[in-house]
């Protein structure tokens, strides 16, 4: 048997309609509310409060603002059939209580059903590795459209095994 091992491809999980290029919120809760409301409007979640509670519980344990302007709020949401990622950029920056206390400009929100934990963990690892590339965050912030932003991430996926 031949096994082909490939890293998680982040761009496969991104959709242009779930990319927000200019988020206008300022704090953690209002940001998460906005992002969840967008997911609800797309019919992906029904119970925004349940998802918000799960995300805030995780933030209370330790901020998912991992530093260098990036936050990856994430939680389990039982009614999903697959992992959903929403990507948002904030020009002004958000006080996300990040580990380095710097404002957050790039947010990847992940929600997964309980039976997709492997995918969830691999995607967290992939996003963390992507966003530690020094040039990537600025390139994402410079993207003129959601499609351009996803294309940049696709290039990263191709360049980095």
């Amino acid at each position: 048997m031949i096994t082909v091992v490939v890293s998680m491809k982040l761009h496969h999980y991104l959709r242009p309609d779930l990319v927000i290029l200019d988020l206008q919120t300022e704090g953690v809760e209002s940001t998460l509310r906005d992002l969840l409301h967008n997911l609800a409007e797309h019919g992906l979640i029904q119970d925004e409060q349940h998802a918000l509670d799960a995300l805030l519980e995780r933030e209370a344990a330790q901020s998912t603002g991992i530093g260098c302007g990036v936050a990856i709020p994430h939680a389990v949401y039982p009614q999903l059939s697959a992992t959903v990622i929403e990507l948002a950029l904030s020009r002004g920056g958000i006080d996300f209580h990040a580990l380095d206390e710097k404002p957050v400009h790039t947010i990847f929100l992940l929600l997964s059903p309980p039976n997709r934990s492997s995918t969830h963990i691999k995607l967290l690892a992939r996003i963390a590795r992507l966003m530690r590339q020094p040039e990537v965050q600025q390139e994402l912030l410079n993207a003129a459209s959601a499609e351009e932003l996803i294309e940049r991430i696709r290039q990263f996926d191709e360049q980095h095994p």
């Binding site: 691999k122 690892a125 992939r126």
Partner: protein, 120 residues
Amino acid sequence: MSMQLLVAVVNQPEKLDDILSGFLELGITGATIINSEGMARVLTHDIPLFAGIQTLISRSRPQNYTIFSVIDDDEKAEAAFAVIQDVCGSLSDPGTGIVFTIPVSRATGVAPELGEESQL
């Protein structure tokens, strides 16, 4: 499909996060990481006779990490190799690090593959 012990000596400590994240992406959930020192560092710092020898000093790194991971198949070990080279750069460049694998004939206690039903 055979089991491999991957050993990596990483001379850039700041790259460790990315290497382990890359392992997770491949489904590798178990590794042992040891703070280690290279021979040149020990010779030039701890053995007075060799202090000040430029050839050794130039090869000396303040700290490195040694990673051990038992990986359950050849393809995944190959992918782990690729991740390390992607993160650290070509290991052919002097001072970058060393990676090798050894076939494992028997092992117990190896971390299982991440399952989709694992607890988050």
